[in-house]
Every structure is written in C-alpha cells, then in structure tokens.
Amino acid sequence: MKYLDEYRDYASVQRMAGEIRRVATRPWTLMEVCGGQTYTIVKTGLQELLPEQITLVHGPGCPVCVTPIAMIDRAIATAMLSKVILCSFGDMLRVPGSTQSLLDVKALGADVRIVYSPLDALQLARSNPHREVVFFAVGFETTAPANAMAVWQASREGLSNFSMLVSHVLVPPAMEAVLASPDSRVQAFLAAGHACMVTGYEEYLAISARYRVPIVVTGFEPLDLLQGVLLLVKQLEEGRFEVENQYTRAVRRAGNSAAQERVNEVFEVTNRAWRGIGEIPSSGLRLRENFASFDAELRFNIALEDAEESGECIAGLVLQGLQRPYDCPAFGKRCTPDSPLGAPMVSSEGACAAYFHFGRRKEDDQSLVSLAAAS
C-alpha cells in the first residue's frame, strides 16, 4: 500500500537500525511523546531492533489517558440527561471516570454514540433538532482544528442544539512538565509529528534551548521512528541540542496556518488538569467568550462532587516515563483493559494497554527475548 509499505519495509528498517547501532556508543534515554508512536513501537516490536543502550520511554501524548477524571464524570453526567446525545471518539467510551465509564451508562440507556469526526456530530444535531447533541472534544493540537471548525460552523448556521465539552490539551507544556520533573531521565524527544502538522515546530526551539535537549519531529511508521531515533542519537553523541524535522512529508516549520487561525478564532489557551499528572499552566484550550454559547459545561451547568483519586494506579509515573507499565503491581492483574484502574490501560495508545495487548509483560518479555535470539 502506497505511503505505508515503504515505511515498513524490512530491509530499509534493518539498515536504519544498523546505522543506529553503529552511531550509539553510550546509553541514552529517549521519550516518544505521542501515544500513536508508542502503539507502533510496541506493535512492531521495534525496541528489539535497537541497541541495548537506547531506552525508549513512553510519553504523555495519549489523549484519553490525560483527560481528567472530573471531565469524564461531567461527560457521563451530561450523557445521562434525557435530551442529550453524547458523541465521542471511540477510545473515550471505555475510560473509567470516578465510578463508571461512558460505555457503562450506555448500557444503562444513555444515548452515547461513536463518531469519527466532530462534523458527524454536527450532522446529528441538524437531523435531531429536538435533541441536544454534545460532542466530547478531547485530544491535542491534532484534533483541535476539526473541533474548532465544528463550533465555527454551528455558530454560522445558528445551530442551537449543538455544544461541545472541551478538554483539549497542548503538547509543548507537557514536554516541559516532564523535563522540569526532578526525577526525569529523558534526554531527548521524538516530538509528535501529527500535532506538528498543525502547529509547526517553532515553539520547540525555546524548549530545546532552555533544557539543552534534542527534539526531532517524528512520524508514526517504523522507519520514521527509527530515523527519528538516529537523528536524536547523533545529536546526543555529538553534544548538540537542536530541533530537527524527520517528518518532512507532512510537517512544515510554520505548520498549517489556516488550521491555526481557525483554532485561535474559536479557542484560547487555559490551564488544564492532566489526569495522573496534575494541573499544568497554559496547557489546554477552552472556547472563547464569543463561542461560550456552545460550551456544554456552561449550557448544562451540572454540579459534580469532587472525584476521588486513589494511590494504587501509577499512571502519572508511567506518563512521565518514570516507570514502565509492568512496574505497577496492579498491571495485568487488578488492572486490565476489561477493568482498567487507570486510563493508560484503556486506549490502544495508552502505554499500559499497548504493553498488555502486545504482551510486554515481564515474563513475556523473557519469552520474546529468547524468540528474538532464535530468529
């Protein structure tokens, strides 16, 4: 398949991995920021191809993982209102709130629907004028333009039965939060290519300079990731810290200005709580005053009790790359994708779920190591 097969080609991948082995002389710890990259790494067994010195840790770029519990509780409470059709991307449905998930309340009769685009939710609002259609807008810079577009379009059409529950977050502040953590082991970043398609990567220049950390904007296919790793390792070995763009087929330095304009017109930057991490200043988006009438939080104004957090799940440590999923005592035992204790066990992009599905349990790791040795 064009544009995919060439980035999964066995020979090219092996060549690139060989080049990394040649260049790496010391141990380095790299973080891939985006959950989509984590998924590829674990699904393709890419870590096996890297030399032992290179450790990949999995970052906080999984939208459903970092959506705060209070926001999920709010989505659930909104979905329970009889007039409401709550629309969401599929991943979000299984994420546990403080007592249940959207799938649980769907089983109780709430009208919860999976959509593939916020524009589908808009269409639902048009065809159900007597219902309130609420779109649960989560995600990073990647999904913000389409969500902004939906609100903008609803505003233009005067669609009064459409609103959005906004829980948008931004990548660069999360990278800074990781770097600012005193326990951080991260020495370089594979930045999230798709978020950079929208934003470009000028914002990363300051982070790279301030923390003296190499950043490579990287794609999502195995060859992309290996090339990103190679560029980072070269920088680290040579003592450089620069921002480079591996994902040139999709990302330009300034990003997509039309998308940025629409996002800025509809949203403004705000403080956001990150699940498992806590509040990070200026790390999210909310609807601007002009579009406040489309804010589901204001429209339904549901009073919620504070969600209780428990100490058992180590999601915060996993999302910052301080622990591996299987370092958690609950991993694969009390916490599985069928009954997740924390969000990273839910989405396929969540590090815990990726490890669980693709068998990165400690004992399986052993079995895979022997497999790799045999093949």
Binding site: K43, Y116, C313
Partner: protein, 346 residues
C-alpha cells in the same frame, strides 16, 4: 503540582455490555462464569464450535448460532446468508457435513415484508449451495422498538465424516497454520455501511459455505489436526482460544497474512487491527509440516479457499500464547480482543 494518582473505579460487572457479545475476553468470561457452571456436561465443556454426540451408532455434530447483524442487508450478503453459512461452517469445523437446519425468527413489528422476503430468499439460496434443508422453524413477533428488524437463530445437525478426531488437542509442535483467504472483508463491509464510511473500493462480505474446502481436505486424505472458522474476534481470538486449549505457542508472520489493500486501508484509517476483524467465510487449518503443500493445493482448488496461504507455525510451550513476527522483524504477543475494538482518536 505533580499529583501521581489515578482513580479506582468500580468495575462494571453487574450488567451486560456489548463487549460480552464481542467474541473476546468478556465473552469467554461470560461462558465460564455463567453458562458452563449452569449447564456443565462433557460435550459442552469441550467448548468446540459444535458439540460431538453419538446416537444409534452415528457420529453427530450439533451447533446453534443467533444472528443479530445490522444492517440486515449489506454488501455481499444478508443476515440470511450468515444464518445458514455460519451454522453450516460451525458443523464443518467439527468435521461434519450438515444434514438439516432449523430456523427461528424474531421479527420486529413494522418490518417491511419485502426485507423479510429478501432475507428468506438468501437463506434458501445459501441452503441450496450448502445442500442442506431447513426442516423446521419458529416465528415470534415483538413490539416495535423491542427488536432490530430481524433476529435469526439457526441450529444445525451434522454427520461427522472426518476420518480422525479434529481439535486443538491434536495440534503438535511443528504443525503449520494455514488460513483460507484474505481476512477482514466481512467486518469492514459491515462497518462501511453501518457508519456511512466510504472507502476507495466496495468491500464485499466474505460470507460463504466452507464445507467444500473442508470436505476436499478429507477426500484428499489429509490428516487435518484442527479447524476453526474465523468469525467474531477474527484470527487473533481464534488462535488464542486454540493455543490455550492446546498448550502451545502459535507464531504467525505478519507479512504472510493475506489482507486486501482496501481492508488494510480501512483498518489503517480507523485504527483497527485486521487480525481482530470479523470474517464469515474464512477458516484456519492446522496440519503437520509434511502435509502443508498438499493441503494448500487442495484448498486452492476450491473457490471458497482459492487464496489459502501458510501463515504460521506451532512451537512447544507449556502455556498457550500467540506471537506475531512483525513486518519489520520485531516480535510481539497477539492477545485476545479485550472489549470491543474501538476506533482510535488520532
């Protein structure tokens, strides 16, 4: 600022979720926690696609399945095709040729008669192809809103013709795994019409009667160790069930697994893994290494399995596991589907 905790929700086990019907982990849990304890007996406990019975000296197989697909009519078939083929195929996986089917209908008030006619006509045609009569039936009508157009249950009785026993317990280290054709067409065909998604080409369901291919293997004298049709939960769920029962490691080579470009494209776009996507006319066969080439020749001679390929190998291991060697040469575990397969965000 950093608050390293996460909530502890109450697991929702007190209600049925859609995933309980998804063919994955929750379905298995339901069988183990609710049905097996209640109905336990030797035939049921073997947990095969159908039960093997003997009556009056004859070796019989019996199976039942209920069909609830939406939409009722989809590219490449109808719920009626599925209801006949699915049950005939379950018998085939027991090494049995179908002798007779029953058909039970739950119809929703207000269903268009024309739709029912179409569904019934496709059942008749599928039964003709499978050479099996529908010998008894039942009809119930439920209030508008209490059904989804048509639900169909079919039960099949078959005569076991397989010369040897067939099942996971016969799988040995060194056996080869063959799949009968490209995977995932049925699931993607349903998704394409259900969610109004349009892909570059039309995807037709692969619904088909598998008996001709299975029978050809028997007639060629190939010692078939295990058969499994790849329905809900796709190849991965089937292999996980088999590996668990057989107590072996099954390894598949991702680059060898046949998946059409349009199915791959749709899965890439939606964030689905084709190894978990449903099929209705595909099956997996385990044979000894020395029989692979002959089995492939025989299967490729039958229309329904013309695309048969060897995709994996069985290795010794104390507890069951399925691993995949990825296209780029890395290894991973292929787990059973957890919950429903849900599209990713971005």
């Amino acid at each position: 600022m950093i608050n390293l905790s996460c909530p502890l929700p109450r697991p929702a086990k007190d209600r049925i979720l859609l995933a309980h019907g998804g063919g994955g982990r929750l379905t298995n849990q339901l069988i183990e926690d609710v049905f097996l304890p209640a109905f336990s007996n030797a035939a049921l406990n073997s947990r095969h696609d159908g039960a093997l019975l003997s009556a009056g000296g004859a070796r019989l197989a019996m199976t039942t399945d209920t069909y609830v697909v939406q939409p009722l009519i989809f590219p490449g078939g109808t719920i009626g095709d599925l209801a006949v083929n699915g049950t005939v195929n379950d018998l085939a996986m027991c090494g049995a040729t179908a002798v007779a089917l029953s058909a039970g209908f739950v119809l929703e008030e207000g269903l268009a008669m024309e739709t029912l006619q179409t569904v019934v006509a496709s059942m008749r045609d599928a039964a003709l192809v499978a050479n099996v009569p529908i010998v008894t039936g039942d009809t119930k009508v439920v209030d508008k809103g209490k059904g989804d157009g048509v639900f169909i249950n079919t039960t099949g009785i078959g005569l076991v013709v397989a010369p040897t026993s067939i099942g996971p317990e016969r799988i040995r280290a060194g056996d080869s795994l063959i799949v009968s054709g490209d995977l995932g067409s049925h699931g993607i065909a349903i998704l394409s019409v259900r969610d109004g998604l349009e892909f570059e080409g039309p995807v037709l369901s692969d619904t088909a009667c598998l008996w001709p291919s299975v029978n050809a293997l028997f007639e060629a004298g190939i010692d078939v160790h295990c058969l499994r049709d790849l329905t809900r939960g796709g190849l991965s769920s089937a292999l996980n069930e088999i590996a668990t029962v057989a107590g072996v490691r099954i390894t598949i080579d991702e680059a060898l697994v046949p998946i059409s470009d349009v199915v791959r494209g749709a899965c890439e776009m939606l964030g689905l893994d084709p190894l978990y996507v449903a099929n209705e006319g595909r099956f997996a066969v385990f044979v000894a290494e020395e029989d692979v080439d002959r089995a492939l020749d025989v299967m490729r001679g039958q229309t329904v399995s013309a695309g048969a390929l060897r995709v994996g190998t069985v290795y010794e291991r104390a507890s069951g596991i399925v691993t995949v060697r990825s296209r780029i040469g890395g290894n991973r575990v292929l787990d059973m589907l957890s919950g429903e397969q849900l599209p990713r965000i971005c």
